[in-house]
């Protein structure tokens, strides 16, 4: 029973921070709320039993990707008029949001009531959610995914290299003093 109540609390916190991320105007605030959201999602994954995934969620999302976002927000150091903070909360988006949620209730109703029973507990010695079980699965069935992830990372490195880097113009002239300079 403790698990259910903890799950409800964690889910409520995740939804609260997700709403704050979506509807707070300034990017630095929504970035901070998103970091909190990732923490509560990691807590949710712990409740679902996958410990390694929860720690990776903190390490990669909250510890690496959001650092990049905070860096760019600090780097650009914009004052509000350049930011375009005002959000155009249009009634169409509210309707769309409610439509999506009701659509989900429809699916759950069609999928059948058995989705509402609690998932059966883990066996005491089951290694679900640990690093060994994931390593076993990752390196046998999903080896091609493992290699292709490396290739995707390489593509991203090359892409960023092309997009964001300009060769600095050589400030000092190329000619040394004793060489003559073209007129």
């Amino acid at each position: 029973m403790l698990q259910q109540s903890l799950f409800i609390i964690m889910a409520a916190l995740v939804l609260l921070t997700a709403g704050l991320v979506a509807f707070r105007p300034r990017p630095i605030e929504s970035a901070m709320w998103l970091i909190l959201n990732f923490f509560f999602t990691a807590g949710l994954y712990v409740l679902l039993g996958s410990h390694f995934v929860a720690v990776i969620q903190i390490l990669v999302y909250a510890g690496a990707i959001m650092v990049l976002f905070v860096f760019v927000i600090l780097l650009l150091n914009l004052d509000p008029k350049e930011l375009g903070d005002e959000t155009s909360l249009h009634w169409s988006s509210v309707v769309m949001f409610v439509g999506m949620l009701s659509f989900l209730l429809l699916i759950l109703h069609v999928a059948g009531p058995q989705t509402l029973e609690p998932m059966e507990g883990l066996l005491p010695d089951s290694k679900f959610g640990s690093v060994e079980a994931l390593a076993q699965k990752l390196l046998t069935d999903y080896v091609w995914g493992f290699e292709l992830a490396g290739v995707i990372l390489l593509l991203a490195i090359v892409g960023v290299g092309m997009l964001a880097y300009r060769k600095p113009k050589p400030k000092t002239p190329k000619f040394l003093d004793h060489q003559e300079r073209p007129v």
Binding site: A11, V21, A22, E82, S88, M100, K137
Partner: protein
């Protein structure tokens, strides 16, 4: 005895909806990418939820692949935003009018 799969799915769909709504109503590029990260995090929740339901590690492995794509996507997205900022001196999306007829 963990929570039913319906709760996990409902939660992941709701987080995805928040991300999608934030994506549609924001006017500056940085918040756009932040809401995109929120949508990806919602999708990850569904993967882990199903992985827990069938007690099979496949969902967790897919979670890893989605994280790789999310990181590469936000890296490239921010590179584009930096170039856009270098051009237009602001990240307001209303400035991006070059393609308007």
């Amino acid at each position: 005895m963990s929570a039913p799969i319906a709760y996990v799915l409902f939660l992941s769909f709701a987080v995805f909806c928040f991300g999608a709504c934030g994506f549609l109503i924001r006017k500056n590029a940085l918040s756009l990418l932040i809401c995109l990260e929120l949508m990806l995090s919602g999708v990850n929740m569904a993967f882990v939820g199903f992985s827990r339901l069938h007690q099979n590690e496949g969902g967790n492995v897919l979670y890893f692949l989605v994280i790789t794509v999310a990181a590469c996507e936000s890296a490239i997205g921010l590179a584009l935003i930096l170039n856009f900022f270098r051009l237009k001196k602001s990240v307001r999306l209303d400035e991006a009018r070059a393609l308007e007829g």
